[in-house]
């Protein structure tokens, strides 16, 4: 049986740039893992192929089969969480068990106001829209 979880301090999921993210990770992994890894990363969602970027990794060595540990990671200044028409950028924490690669994920938001930035489409003229739309193969 495998259970992984990530708890955030005060259940805070909204953060400002460069703010610290604190919490606890818990796991019950059978057979016992070789090590556990907590990753702070961003990824994209939307109309484009998804990209991801790991910002910080915390490794938990010699883990017991059932354990809870604290963590503190630091968000960078950027990129902000944002959502537009084509792209959303999401920040998250992932707890990964090795070697089974089982995972638990917790999404958070990072922005100037602690929230994701929302960007909308601009209503351009039809000519401009045709001028600007590009389909590259």
């Amino acid at each position: 049986m495998t259970e992984l979880s990530i708890e955030l301090a005060q259940e805070q999921t909204a953060f400002k740039p460069a703010e610290a993210v604190r919490g606890k990770v818990s796991w019950t992994v059978d057979p016992p893992p070789q090590f556990m890894e907590l990753r702070l990363f961003w990824f994209t969602r939307g109309k484009g192929t998804e990209d991801a970027g790991i910002v910080q990794t915390v490794r938990f060595d010699q883990p017991l089969p059932h354990e809870t540990r604290s963590f503190e990671v630091c968000l960078p200044e950027a990129p902000y969480s944002f959502s537009g028409k084509l792209i959303s950028l999401v920040w998250a924490l992932e707890l990964v068990a090795y070697p089974s690669k089982q995972v638990a994920r917790r999404e958070i938001e990072m922005g100037p106001d602690g929230k994701e930035v929302r960007i909308e489409s601009v209503q351009t003229s039809g000519l401009a829209r045709r001028w600007l739309e590009v389909r590259a193969t």
């Binding site: 969602r45 939307g46 084509l86």
Partner: protein, 192 residues
């Protein structure tokens, strides 16, 4: 609507499973075996060849075979220098090569690839036209299929989307990928 919430976003499209018509997985795998695991998944752009090939891999692994996936595209229509030599290094007769985009290779490149990888236990490719290997399966699309896929993504009934599906299917000439991407745009535009 935020990009991350759009039901037609890339993540959801890539989770769509291939829908067979008139055949089951067991029957397809049986066909694979009869062809000695050498065949082509044929179909036009956006007909689900890549999806089918991706789902075929774990099915073959369940049968105790080992799969190795390779992809070519218009941006990369040939193998990087040294790639084939590396590939050949570890090939065994228990391994099935899955090549997505075989039509990107020139005729000479294709024959060279086939020759270099003849030690593999099998070779299954995707291609737009038949001819390079015996046809394992031909991917076909239809407006009802598009309606079904869209309904699954929206969590609604396919009948409700039949008319729009027919319009999209005709506009995109059967390319389901482009049709679903237009659905993304339409939904994003409606909600803004």
């Amino acid at each position: 609507m935020r990009a991350r919430d759009n039901p037609f976003r890339t993540e959801c499209l890539q989770r769509l499973r291939y829908r067979f018509a008139g055949i089951t997985w067991e029957e397809l795998l049986g066909r694979c075996e009869r062809l000695n695991y050498r065949g082509a998944v044929v179909g036009r752009c956006g007909s689900g060849k890549t999806t089918l090939l991706e789902e075929l891999a774990p099915k073959l692994q369940e049968r105790g075979l080992v799969t190795r996936s390779i992809r070519l595209s218009r941006e990369q229509p040939s193998f990087k220098p040294g790639f084939l030599s590396q590939l050949v290094l570890k090939l065994s007769d228990r391994e099935i090569l899955l090549l997505d985009g075989a039509e990107q290779l020139s005729l000479g490149g294709w024959h060279w690839f086939k020759c270099r990888t003849r030690a593999a236990g099998g070779l299954i490719v995707t291609t737009h036209l038949p001819g390079r290997l015996p046809t394992l399966w031909e991917c076909r699309t239809s407006a009802p299929l598009l309606a079904q896929l869209a309904a699954d993504l929206l969590g609604t009934e396919a009948e409700d989307l039949q008319r729009q599906a027919e319009e999209l299917f005709e506009r995109h000439r059967g390319n389901l990928r482009e049709a679903l991407r237009e659905c993304y745009d339409q939904l994003a535009a409606e909600s803004s």
